[in-house]
């Protein structure tokens, strides 16, 4: 198991988890414009997520979960409201800084895997490290693939892997640069329950190592792994329950 990945946040000189919000969202709205029609996807959302927390975002289809995740992942910008990631207001960042934030702080697991089709698992996983200019990328990618149980599939291309294996490659890619926050949009949506359990166990491990985890799910079993559940409906937070499990220290 990788030392860097195993390193808890507290060991990286970050102050106590309770007083430090890694994600801080205030009055966030997102309105999509389809020609003249305005589609409000988020209508004023506010919450904070502490470093090291494990949060599930739930809600019916079309309630704005993916929209929210894309903004948290710095892939999209809110229409209004403030989003601070690790204390930084991301609205003020330029392209280069945003790319650097995605590289250094965020790992995103997409609902549809989003792997490069003609590229091996190893290269897919090493991709963020390539952009970070890391020359040890193949070694690190290999280690993370072993960690998600794909040590023997590194040279396979996505079309030579099962859905669950592809999902794990996507997770390995999200983890390879040791991000503070791991975002996963329906990571078990396409998987059978046994594979889903494997992946949830992996997330639990990662969380115990100090990674902040935010997952979007429809599945109550999956959500039960989280310590906190935020429920959305029609672009608003309708409930925010903590204590499904013990809060971290």
């Amino acid at each position: 198991m990788s030392e860097t990945l195993a390193q808890p946040l507290s060991a990286r000189g970050i102050p106590s988890v309770q007083e430090r919000a890694v994600i801080d969202i205030t009055d966030m709205t997102k309105v999509y414009e389809l020609g003249d029609i305005k589609v409000p996807a988020l209508r004023g959302v506010s919450f904070r997520i502490a470093a090291g927390d494990y949060v599930a975002i739930m809600g019916p289809s079309g309630s704005g979960k993916s929209t929210l995740m894309n903004i948290i992942g710095c892939l999209d910008q809110p229409t209004s409201g403030i989003y601070r990631l690790d204390g930084i207001d991301v609205a003020n960042l330029d392209d280069r800084e945003l790319a650097a934030i995605r590289l250094s702080k965020l790992g995103f697991v997409f609902q549809g895997f989003n792997l490069l089709a003609r590229t091996t698992a190893l290269r897919n996983v090493a991709l963020p490290l390539f952009y970070a200019g890391d020359r040890d990328r193949d070694k690190k990618a290999q280690r993370v693939l072993e960690k998600v149980g794909l040590g023997d599939r590194v040279q396979h291309r996505p079309n030579e892997l099962s859905g669950g294996q592809q999902q794990r490659v996507a997770i390995a890619r999200a983890l390879v640069n040791d991000p503070a926050v791991l975002l996963a949009d329906e990571p078990t949506g396409n998987l059978d329950s046994a594979t889903a359990e494997d992946i949830m166990a992996l997330f639990a491990d990662l969380n115990s190592e100090g990674h902040t985890i935010i997952i979007v799910t429809h599945d109550d079993d999956v959500a039960s792994h989280a310590r906190r559940i935020i429920r959305l409906r029609d672009g608003l937070v309708i409930s925010d329950e903590s204590g499904a499990r013990n809060r971290p220290l």
Binding site: R96, A99, L103, L116, L127, A132
Partner: protein, 409 residues
């Protein structure tokens, strides 16, 4: 986040490597995309190489003629040709009027008869002075005339390569032997080396010649000559030729017209032809590269659209705009350089074909073109096309919004 220069170099090398891989995986399509550029570069290279080889062949042929000598003749069409005709005695007068020249030699071309194995044969006799005159052909054996031989009206001669082989049996040493011309005997002092093969440019008449001292002209019974050879130096050859013309006009009257020929003027004329040729090539090159470039840009724009999702994925995992820009520029660069290289090979092949089938017939000699400017042009042109026509698609790719890209089907 700061990156060390080292990692930038490493990244760029990796972009180029990936670009080669991508293009190789789509090699048929890449080849079609490059076609315009291949044809453009290929034709420019072919024209340049043929032009270069031709120029060198012509220069090589001209090397037989002295750079330091100018030939002055009376113009064929003029009001009073009779009056303008150059006389043997003009040579001395011109030499006096133009003291800076080394020699003024009256030139005459006279057909004479000789006997070859008991049969009479006509041979061309040309007059010359001491040392190197207008004809700078190398000698195979013997020497040129000495000033004494010329001044003393000696009956000596220099044989051309063909004349030597006609008159004497091959292989025999001929210097010191005698040749009979119009009944008089001449001692052979030198033999010219085999001339450069001049191909179609060669005139058949001049091959069997015998050169004799010009001071024998009066003895042959001529008072008019074909022209004057003005021996000076390569720098002033045209100038001195014109000075000789002025001197002739003083003698024959201002209405008389003369013209002057020298290698320097000829070379300048050839240079002008090649300048025009270069201009034409430039226009062809411009057009073909434009066509090739637009083709490449078109396919790259299609490729950017097709790979929207890939761009989205790359951006989502942390690629900055410059990374995407460099990725697509690398692909354009690799594609254009590959196209340029193929064009270069094709162009050189075509040039070799043209040179060996056409130019060799025309000029007899083939002198290879020089590679350095041709390779440079191919590389510079293709890299230029890559940058000019690859930048817009690459910039467009780099500015795509990651989330829009990921939604793209």
């Amino acid at each position: 986040m700061t990156e060390s220069g080292n990692s930038v170099v490493h990244k760029t090398a990796e972009f180029l490597r990936q670009a080669i891989e991508t293009l190789w995986n789509n090699r048929f399509r890449s080849l079609l995309t490059m076609l315009g550029l291949i044809i453009g570069v290929g034709s420019v290279i072919a024209i340049l190489a043929v032009g270069d080889a031709t120029n060198r062949s012509v220069q090589n042929l001209l090397s037989q003629y002295s750079q330091a000598s100018s030939f002055v003749v009376a113009k064929q069409t003029q009001p009073d040709f009779q009056n303008a005709a150059i006389r043997y005695t003009d040579a001395r007068a011109v030499a006096k009027a133009v003291p800076q020249v080394k020699a003024v030699i009256p030139i005459m071309v006279i057909p004479m008869t000789t006997t070859v194995r008991h049969r009479t044969k006509t041979i061309t006799v040309i007059t010359a002075g001491a040392g190197v005159g207008f004809d700078a052909s190398a000698l195979e054996a013997g020497r040129r005339f000495t000033p004494l031989e010329v001044a003393a009206h000696r009956h000596v001669c220099i044989l051309s390569y063909d004349a030597r082989n006609t008159i004497f049996s091959p292989g025999a040493a001929v210097t010191g032997s005698s040749v009979r011309l119009n009944g008089s005997y001449y001692t052979v002092v030198g033999v010219q080396a085999k001339p450069l093969n001049a191909g179609l440019l060669q005139s058949d008449s001049g091959s069997e010649t015998v050169t004799v001292p010009y001071t024998l002209i009066p003895e042959f019974g001529y008072s008019y000559v074909a022209g004057l050879s003005i021996v000076s130096d390569p720098e002033h050859v045209t100038q001195d030729g014109n000075a000789a013309i002025d001197a002739l006009k003083k003698i024959h009257g201002q209405r008389s017209q003369y013209q002057e020929r020298d290698i320097k003027t000829l070379n300048e004329g050839i240079a002008k032809v090649f300048t025009v040729l270069t201009g034409v090539i430039g226009v062809i090159a411009g057009i073909s590269l434009l066509v090739g470039g637009v083709g490449i840009m078109n396919i790259m724009l299609v490729s950017v659209t097709e790979r929207t999702r890939e761009i989205g994925i790359r951006k989502a995992v942390g690629a900055a705009r410059t990374d995407i820009l460099l990725q697509f520029l690398s692909e354009a660069l690799v594609m254009c350089l590959a196209g340029g290289l193929i064009g270069l090979c094709g162009g050189v092949g075509l040039a070799e074909l043209v040179i060996h089938t056409l130019i060799i017939k025309l000029t007899g000699t083939v002198v290879a073109f020089s590679w350095a400017p041709i390779v440079t042009i191919a590389v510079v042109f293709s890299a230029g096309v890559a940058l000019v026509f690859g930048t817009y698609p690459a910039v467009r790719a780099s500015y795509l919004d990651p989330i829009e890209c990921l939604r793209f089907e």
